[in-house]
Amino acid sequence: MHEIIDDFLPKAVHKKILDVFEGSHFPWYYTKNSTGKAHLDEVSHGQFAHIFFRSQHPQYMLSVHFKLVEPMLEIIKPNILIRIKANSTAPIQSDNKVGDFHLDYSSPKGMVGIYYVNTNDGATVLENGEVIESVENRFVKFSSDIKHAVRRHTNVKNRIVINFNWLD
């Protein structure tokens, strides 16, 4: 149902990504919540995001920081890239609450990939109950028709992931 690849990138490449994300020159953009569901406001104060790439017309976007995700794309080898977005979220105070199950998009050959930039007690939960823990330098991929949700973290000051959507 899903594939996990640990130590996805060489350590030096992973460290560079982490350093850029936590550096003072990388722009983040505030969004009210991660899945567009207003009731999540009860537990979430929103997140910071950065879109590296978005193919949808007319909102096409290519970040000047796209080079940062190229090492991952060399491994993923997507046939058609749809979106790459980094998310940085603050912790919540209640224990590990799971957000809304959702689809990023749906397509017969659609794939979702999540790269975990740092380790924390948050996780990705799939609709069948499988849990992928947030471990730094881990990559997980699964079909885009599998609903998934975030289990919010509590133990670090920011949780960073990069979310990939593509067609195989």
């Binding site: 994300f21 936590e22 550096g23 003072s24 020159h25 990388f26 722009p27 983040w28 953009y29 505030y30 969004t31 009210k32 104060h45 929103g46 910071f48 995001a49 940085s88 603050a90 912790p91 919540i92 105070q93 509590t154 000051k157 920011n158």
Partner: protein, 184 residues
């Protein structure tokens, strides 16, 4: 002129302008930059991160959003009948609650080590009070005593002699968003 002074004014700009700033800052096109410690103190053990947008850096315009925020400075100067030579720094900060168990405040600090005036504008109403201490030119062994605690309220500005050590409580329930100017 402003030595040892502290002022608080509500609605320093019109409500329409307050809303405009809030909407612009929380717009998904407004860039924020990660900082690992909001007090910008390399010696701090707290390492409480936040997101920052630098409007003015070393007296130079650093953002396309710089100009339309300057009425905050001008109106503040008018209120206290003071005209600055220049705005040295202008920075916006956005903080999300960090789930910090120990409810101590951030590291007390001064923004600059020379004479300046602080103009602190609250973009939104939130928790995370600003605390201004009586102490100036502090020695390490001195204890801090609170001069004034100010609750963040949309449209409010607190103006004070920058020599006063100050800090803030971390927000625990709300987004905290402020604009901090240092005037010379």
């Amino acid at each position: 002129m402003y030595e040892n002074k502290l002022w608080i004014f509500d609605n320093i700009i019109s409500v329409d302008d307050q809303e405009h700033i809030k909407n612009e800052f929380f717009n998904k096109n407004f860039p924020w930059f990660f900082i690992s410690d909001i007090t910008n103190n390399s010696n701090s053990n707290q390492k409480r991160p936040a997101f920052q947008h630098t409007l003015i850096k070393d007296s130079a315009n650093n953002s396309e959003y710089c100009e339309w925020l300057l009425p905050i400075v001008k109106n503040s100067e008018d209120k206290i009948k003071f005209k600055s030579e220049r705005v040295e720094h202008g920075r916006a900060f956005l903080q999300l609650p960090l789930n910090i168990e120990k409810e101590d405040c951030d590291e007390p600090h001064v923004d600059l080590n020379y004479k300046h005036l602080v103009v602190l504008y609250y973009v939104v109403t939130s928790d995370g009070e600003t605390i201004i201490y009586n102490e100036q030119n502090k020695n390490n062994n001195d204890k801090y005593t609170i001069k004034k605690s100010i609750k963040p309220k949309q449209g409010r500005v607190v103006i004070f002699d920058g020599r006063y050590y100050h800090t803030a409580n971390q927000p625990s329930n709300d987004l905290r968003c402020v604009i901090n100017y240092n005037l010379i």
